[in-house]
């Protein structure tokens, strides 16, 4: 394939003198020129880089074997085109960036000064967000496991209650549940703090999902495990506690970690009941400064936590699957 293009190039460029000696054109020089042309037409960016790299390599090769290789001019041309291929787009970008629209963007949206001013206030909000997520998660784990155990209990009525709870909760938006719980409890005369109401709403909602994850985990453990434990004289709860659950928990750690990340992000919904978490603070600042930049700060705050967390989940997933 490469050889054919090379020949094609040669016949196409028949204007150039073709001395009939044992000299051949350096292929890298040809490649450089092709990429150079490409850089300005169909292959911007990467084409320019390749043109320059191949050009430089060709130059070095030609210098080493001056008698046998030619194509120095082609290489020069390729490098020049490559450089143009990089410089011209940059100039265009520069022109665009200096336009009014872009300047407005930097002023209203990515205003570094406002970003810097916003960060301390936002970071304190981030702490509230983390606290919300951690406190809720602890409640969710206990309550979710409890619901899962009821869901698989032998008593029909209990099983039905758990099933209804799980389905009803999963069938409604979390946002709606937050409103219902916060205002509903208010009418019942229960004056919970916004933070507590938030934790309660998140717990009730997420426990339904995590109960199903726990149930799937428990049911994935072979029933021979329960039988073996029962046969040794251990009661149902003891068998669950010492034999089935330890195995099930290992299996559900990856899906539960993903739920935790989702939970962390969903704490933003509590802004609707003015819990001073990071998104709520971002909104406040946005109004206060009449500028959208604080939201960029909020985005940064979430990513500081979620990006490393996703890595950790991946790592845990990998190491668990290795030992399974």
């Amino acid at each position: 394939m490469k050889r054919r293009t090379h020949n094609g190039e040669e016949t196409g460029e028949s204007l150039a003198p073709e001395p009939r000696i044992q000299v051949r054109r350096c292929r890298k020089a040809t490649a450089s020129l092709v990429f150079g042309i490409g850089a300005l037409s169909f292959l911007p960016g990467i084409g320019a880089v390749l043109a320059i790299v191949y050009g430089a390599l060709a130059k070095r090769e030609i210098k080493r074997d001056e008698l046998e290789l030619r194509g120095s001019k082609w290489a020069t041309a390729g490098i020049t085109l490559g450089i143009l291929g990089i410089v011209l787009p940059l100039v265009a970008l520069g022109l665009y960036l200096s336009s009014d629209k872009v300047r407005a963007l930097f002023k209203e949206f990515i205003n570094l000064r406002i970003l810097k001013e916003s960060m301390p206030y936002l970071l304190r909000g981030l702490l509230v967000t983390i606290k919300l997520a951690v406190v809720s998660e602890v409640c969710i784990l206990f309550f979710g496991l409890f619901v899962a155990l009821i869901r698989i209990s032998r008593i029909k009525v209990l099983r039905a209650v758990a099933a209804v709870y799980i389905d009803v909760i999963r069938g409604m938006p979390l946002l709606l549940q937050i409103f219902i719980i916060y205002f509903g409890l208010g009418y019942l005369g229960l004056n919970l703090s916004r933070f507590t109401a938030g934790v309660l709403a998140l717990t009730i909602c997420y426990a339904a999902y995590e109960a199903e994850i726990f149930r799937a985990g428990i049911e994935s453990i072979h029933k021979g495990q329960m039988e073996a434990a029962r046969s040794l004289g251990m009661g149902y709860l003891k068998s669950m506690r010492y034999v089935v659950l330890p195995q099930a928990v290992r299996r559900v750690i990856p899906p539960l970690s993903n739920e935790f990340i989702a939970l962390l992000k969903d704490t933003a919904l509590l802004a609707v009941i003015s819990v001073p978490e990071v998104f709520q603070r971002g909104r406040e600042l946005m109004g206060f400064k009449a500028n959208v930049t604080p939201l960029i700060g909020v985005a940064i705050c979430y990513l500081i936590i979620t990006l490393p967390l996703m890595r950790v989940v991946q790592y845990v997933e990998k190491s668990l699957s290795k030992t399974d």
Partner: protein
């Protein structure tokens, strides 16, 4: 030691056991043979309450375990069972597999439980594997740990449910030898098996079951060499033609 009287078991419409009566005396080794689906395993599982009898009574050391008032967990401590599929706890080492029930059920102190577990592992020749996880043991070793685990509760009876059926042929012997040792120590055993050599050598009495009934019963050699019932004859002739 175990007395089964008129035991029936139904799974839905399907009658698996159709009136089994059996008496197992202390230190007796009863081997149960018969074609698949004849109800051997179901009968065994009824003896420690893993399956509930549909009708009839099962007395273990005088306690009727079909009585709902009976604390089945108490009875199970006296009746050890070993399964075809080992069912070791994969998240625990061999040692912890053996100590778990003594610690949690008998509330035995840790030291005593450990000491006892090592004794039992030694008995099945696996003391040196005490810290290994089940995944790192061969099938035969896993099954021997399962035997040690059952023995750690000091049962008066041991039930074996086709314990060598899931093993590679070369691993069968080590498990059978362990069971033979137990029998020689005077353990009362009910053994569901397809290992005819073992049945003949170790069994005091052989029970042949077919379609939920005990069809024939007697000394292993007699049942084996001189079957009376046509169904038994057919079964053994089929087995023997493969040897």
């Amino acid at each position: 030691m175990i007395r089964i009287v008129g035991l029936y078991k139904l799974f839905g419409e399907h009658e698996v056991l159709k009136g089994i009566s059996l008496h197992v005396k202390p230190s007796e080794v009863v081997v149960v043979v018969g074609p698949s689906g004849s109800g051997k395993s179901t009968m065994l599982r009824c003896i420690n309450g893993l399956e509930h009898a549909s009708a009839g009574h099962i007395y273990v050391e005088g306690t009727d375990i079909t009585d709902p008032q009976v604390d089945i967990n108490e009875v199970r401590q006296k009746v050890g069972i070993v399964f075809q599929s080992f069912n070791l706890f994969p998240h625990l080492t061999a040692m912890h597999n053996v100590t778990l029930a003594p610690l949690k059920v008998k509330k035995m102190p840790q030291d005593e439980a450990n000491e006892k577990a090592l004794q039992q592992l030694d008995r099945v020749g696996l003391k040196y594997k005490a810290d290994a996880y089940p995944a790192h043991l061969s099938g035969g070793q896993q099954q021997r740990v399962a035997i040690a685990r059952a023995l750690a509760m000091d049962p008066d009876v041991m039930l074996f449910d086709e314990v060598t059926s899931a093993l590679d042929p070369e691993l069968v012997k080590e498990v059978l030898d362990t069971m033979k040792g137990l029998a020689q120590e005077g353990m009362t055993m009910v053994v569901v098996t397809h290992e005819m050599g073992f049945a003949k050598e170790v069994g005091d009495r052989m029970i042949f079951m077919d379609e939920g009934l005990i069809v024939e019963e007697g000394k292993p050699e007699d049942v084996f060499t001189n079957p009376v019932h046509p169904r038994t004859k057919e079964f053994f002739s089929k087995i023997l033609s493969h040897i």
